[in-house]
Symmetry: D2
Subunit: 116 residues, 4 copies
């Protein structure tokens, strides 16, 4: 993760783009890329969505948009000097306390009100 | 990255939640979390946004929402059996060809039409 | 539409809130409310979605979030002194030229690449 | 509003597109259009945002994306047989009780935690 963060920040600094990066605009950009990723699945039925996993063009589009999402997420983590790995692990821990295994497993109704 | 991905997938499987995860709903969830992250900066001026970097409560909120975004991004990468590190590095390469350093560096007007 | 716009602007001015409204933050708010509306359908299958039309609580939630979306849309139209009715009719005209009836009707494949 | 709703539904029915419209996909589409609207303001400073109000090209882009947002909002209202005007007026009433004039007016700090 640290190596990826360095690659993302190098890319930004090689082009002298840090001047444009601030948390609010990075959060906006992250939202816009998430929407571009969601757009790939717009109007698709559950069957069509599963079929996309073996469609080369669909996979390529998803990979590219997911890349944009991750790049902005890493840039945002950097703004607050967060360790991306720590960000994930800490939230998994919080989620683990909110949804302990013994309560969550096997309860189909869990997902009717699920909210990570 | 691989270790983080395994942690995220284990969390899902311990609770038997893979049955609810499909690309479209994961992309929706990623968009919703990105919006919750953006909400932290709603109405804030550029000055207020910079001040948040040294505000403990704001930092904690950003860290948690960023965690949710990254967790869904990793779950989505897993759906398509992507290596998250590869997803980032490949998109940086694509962006590098689109915005070569010699063209991008120092050009303040670059950001008026900037689109990663 | 004009009456609705006046009601929305009066609400804002009674509270002296125009000082906080600017196009960018209104566009952010509109995106956040759209996400809250989408959240109502998170994880829901096509069958569950149709069932929501006759579920009183679901209908109430949708109505409220849709209200927030429309209120911000009207505030944004006001920022640019647009007539909301004209905004809709002009875009329908643009869409009509892009998707003429003779070409669009009956073509099931239209929606595989549909983009309004 | 009723006339606008009829225009939007006629457009859909002339092309036989009702078959593709369901609440969840309409909510997704509304979110995607809100993001396209927000994108117009990506990276823009408060000063640049105000300047856009007198920029013909920017105004045209905002008008078109706002049109898409309103069209999907009207389609979604129709799915639940809501009267769009009622949707707005009821939410203004709810907001009015949440933020009574006597409490809200003049309080600059109101917007630090403002949430419609």
């Amino acid at each position: 993760m640290q190596a990826l963060l360095r690659a993302v920040i190098s890319f930004r600094d090689e082009r002298d783009w840090a001047q444009y990066h601030n948390p609010k605009d990075l959060a906006i950009s992250l939202t816009l890329e998430a929407a571009e990723l969601l757009e790939i699945f717009q109007w698709k039925s559950p069957e069509q969505v599963q079929a996309m996993k073996s469609d080369e063009q669909a996979c390529r589009r998803v990979k590219e948009e997911l890349g944009d999402v991750l790049i902005y997420a890493l840039n945002l983590a950097n703004e607050f000097t967060f360790d991306p790995a720590e960000v994930v692990l800490e939230k998994l821990a919080i989620n683990g306390r909110k949804y302990p295994v013994e309560k969550a497993k096997g309860r189909a109704d869990k997902y009717s009100a699920y909210e990570e």
